[in-house]
């Protein structure tokens, strides 16, 4: 059951991703990307990351993609332009390089298949299902809140500065009149 759902979400995610990059219309691409993000969120749930799955939907699909769509609409880019996609040579090159990258990275899967993951990572691997149990015990939020505000306090604060900088930057660039 678990696995069937995994492959289902994975299949949708991959297919939607492919459509996202190949649709001429920017709006279509954006919507397919939203579908990919949703599928990913499903995968996150299956991988014992419920909180992440939730904010994936909230932040990514809900906020970021809306922003994208907003800009697309603002700039009136809804209609596909003829030059949006590369020519056949460009497509071939893109496909080739993409496939090449996939092949290179596929080695990761082979490793995991071949030797089992426990042998692959040196660090303290959790027993299978342990993370799920922790999540059940501490709650999806609690499991993340603890490290986030203790161990990862510094990065968290940096993130806040980062967002502030992004706001300032966006304002500087996008404001009609300064």
């Amino acid at each position: 059951m678990h696995e069937v759902m995994f492959w289902g979400f994975a299949g949708v995610a991959l297919a939607a991703a492919l459509l996202c990059v190949t649709r001429r219309s920017a709006v279509a691409s954006a919507l397919w990307l939203v579908l990919t993000l949703f599928s990913l969120s499903g995968l996150f749930v299956l991988l014992d990351a419920q909180f992440i799955a939730a904010i994936q939907v909230l932040v990514y699909a809900g906020a970021i993609m809306v922003l994208f769509l907003f800009v697309i609409m603002l700039l009136n880019l809804g209609r596909a332009g003829p030059a949006d996609m590369r020519g056949w040579l460009g497509r071939g090159v893109a496909a080739l390089l993409g496939a090449g990258l996939a092949v290179e990275l596929w080695v990761l899967v082979r490793i995991v298949r071949g030797g089992g993951f426990a042998a692959e990572t040196a660090a303290f691997p959790l027993p299978p299902g342990e993370l799920g149990r922790v999540q059940a015990a501490e709650g999806a939020v609690g499991m993340l809140a603890e490290p986030l505000f203790r161990q990862y306090l510094v990065p968290f604060e940096i993130t806040s500065v980062l967002l502030l900088a992004a706001i300032v930057g966006a304002v500087v660039l996008a404001k009609r009149k300064i």
Binding site: Q151, P155, I158, A165, L173
Partner: protein, 472 residues
Amino acid sequence: MTPMLIDLSAPAGITLALLPEIVLTAWALILLLVIGWRHGDPEHHRWAGGFTLVGLVAALGTVVWLWRAGATPDGLPLMIALDSFRWATAAVFLIGSMAAVLLAQGYLGRERILVPEFYVLVLFATVGMLLMGGAADLIVVFLGLELMSLSVYVLAGIKRRSPQSSEAALKYFLLGAFASGFLLYGIALIYGATGTTNLQAVALQLADSEIAGRPMLTIGAAMLLVGFGFKVSAVPFHMWAPDVYDGAPTPVTAYMAAAVKAAGFAALVRVALTALGDATAAWQTTVWWLAALTMIVGNLVALAQRRLKRMLAYSSIAHAGYLLVAVAAASIQGGSAFVFYAFAYTLMTVGAFAVLAAVGRDGESDLLIDDFNGLAERRPWLSFALAVFMLSLLGFPGTAGFIGKWLILVAAVEAGQTTLAVVLVGASVLSAGYYLPVIMAMYMKPSERAEVAEGARLARGGRLVVAAAAIA
């Protein structure tokens, strides 16, 4: 002197350890508040610059204080490192930022880029750099890098009237984000291979040579290199650099060529030497090739340039190659050589851009080398300064550039990278082919411009930069 032990798990300790960053952030916030209702007036603008400078100096003060106090982490450094590398690089970044601010003060007014947020963004970018140089965790590296990058994307495009500036921002942003993806993937794989993102913990794991050779780690390292390679503009990930340097306002270009690149290197050196120091097999050869290619391509293409700004952009790529040699040495000497060279390079390149800014106007990107003909007659001191910068960039004895190059060569040779050292000197010869014509134009060719170039006066701050850098 007893080292000052800092407990990095307690909030007080973290505050102390991050003092420079906190000072800068606080400064940025105050500045943001102030300029919220006081901007648009050149007077306010100048004030903002001055204020920023004070902040940078204050941060430098805290850095020096922590350095002299011998701040040492109590146990494993979590997230943030406390070592001399951090303080040294922090000093380089802060000085680079100061130079950029000094340069910008006159420049922005002259070019009518009256956006006081410029300084806020410089401060934020500096915070990002400090974090990159001081990171003890890959996540901090990543976040610092993003903080710096985002700020600099905006800075590159801050001259909104100029299509070139916007284009530079767009190219930088798209490729930068793209490269961040690779970097992040690399972090993920290293996390996967070692189970941690803490640099020292990673190193501990990799002390086991069996792990060091695993594909997950090597691929992760390669991905990291791609990401850093982009930031430091290593060939073949360099192609954004000339365009962006060309299009961005000159003070920003100087900032990018000097401090931003140095920050990228600082992070690279930290990751490579601290975390992957025992897994040199995974990256040394690659860095070797990157270094060689970067030096050769950067210098060759620079040879073909006729516009000074673009030539300096390619030269900055070439210098990234020299710095990569220091990284490829994979030794402590390499690290210290890097710090010194970064410092020297910051000064000389900022100086060169400062002269460029002083001579040209309206973006300067159209300033041909031929336009410098006979400059020595008209503006002897400026020409002298530029000549010194060129020689320093060339690595001529008597300049800081030489000492830097010397240190890098020593490190490379001691690490047995003699071939790379030979490539380095060969590339230096190429570089003479474009640095010298600048000197030739200024001193040995007659002036073609009839008009007495009285305008385009160098701002006081700019002059300070030139003077400081010329001493180097």
